[in-house]
């Protein structure tokens, strides 16, 4: 079997904030009735987490779950256990009108950390990144410069950006430019 590698193989950049590609991540798109008991049972079995509320991320012992739209969730688990998680969820949603698809290799994930990480993101997305408007456990789908992306806040104050793998280099490059030394705007 071929060796799986992430889009930029863990590329990093140190500017006035740190930008790093986080490497392989298991990601599963789930669509269906988020309010159904089959959905909450399947999500619980796969991740240990509850179904998140609108624009929230929940986490459990086996992974995290992000709210993507009124009928869509993103389940984030270890890359190695993604097939097993898909199987658990597919089984749990058998008979329901639902979709479970492994999209791990179609995406790239970046972490932006450091005191000024909010400024790095705010320069690229039309989103209110004020501390009282966006924080840990929040997710926002938007755009990073010219491409669609989702951003969520981690407990340690860092942020993670998910985008399509095909635009990984572009997103890394614009994050680098935004975090370039001398470009700190000190807004947030």
């Amino acid at each position: 079997m071929s060796e799986a590698v992430s889009a930029l193989d863990g590329a990093t950049f140190e500017g006035f904030a740190k930008v790093e590609e986080t490497g392989l991540r298991g990601m599963i798109t789930v669509r269906g009735d988020l309010a159904s008991k089959e959905m909450s049972a399947a999500i619980k079995a796969a991740t240990g987490a509850a179904v998140p509320a609108q624009r929230k991320v929940t986490s459990g012992d086996k992974g995290a779950v992000a709210w993507m739209s009124p009928d869509e969730l993103l389940v984030v688990v270890d890359y190695a256990s993604v097939n097993e998680t898909v199987a658990t969820m597919t089984d749990g949603l058998k008979g329901s009108h639902a979709l479970v698809a492994n999209v791990s290799d179609a995406r790239a994930v970046f972490r932006v950390s450091g005191d000024s990480s909010r400024d790095v993101l705010a320069k690229l997305a039309p989103v209110d990144f004020a501390r009282d408007a966006f924080g840990a456990g929040d997710i926002r789908r938007s755009r990073i410069a010219q491409v669609p992306a989702a951003v969520w806040g981690n407990e340690d104050g860092s942020f993670e950006v998910i985008c399509f793998r095909s635009v990984a280099q572009y997103v890394f490059d614009v994050l680098k430019v935004s975090a370039q030394p001398g470009g700190d705007v000190g807004f947030h």
């Binding site: 609108q54 624009r55 039309p126 789908r141 938007s142 755009r143 669609p148």
Partner: protein
């Protein structure tokens, strides 16, 4: 810049996160329909100076289509509402009437 609240994800999205998708509440005339109905379905669009109903898509966001009621002259937004409807909800119509008494748009008023 236009800012609309997406009724599905609750985000106040500015224009670059959205895509304009034309006029709202079109009735489709497909194969087998009258030529005049088909022509008007394909080509005839409202272009008012005033109250207007549009379809938008939260394309750089949750991806859903929704409707918006706004004024093309003042750029005031009266409200947004889900796309699973054949006409604007009463509360939106009431808001428009409060601001612009006597308004009408196609069959709505």
């Amino acid at each position: 810049m236009l800012t609309l609240q997406c009724p599905y994800c609750g985000v106040w999205a500015e224009e670059t996160e959205l895509h304009a998708e034309g006029e709202a509440h079109l009735k489709r005339f497909g194969p087998g329909s009258d030529d005049a109905d088909f022509e008007s379905y394909l080509f005839m669009r409202e272009n008012p100076k005033g109250v207007h109903f549009e379809r938008w898509r939260h394309s750089n966001g949750c991806g859903k289509f929704f409707h918006a009621a706004r004024c093309t002259m003042t750029l005031e937004v009266f409200g947004t509402y889900p796309a699973q409807t054949l006409e604007p909800p009463q509360d939106i119509k009431d808001k428009i009437s409060a601001k612009q008494p006597g308004w009408s748009w196609r069959d709505f008023s």
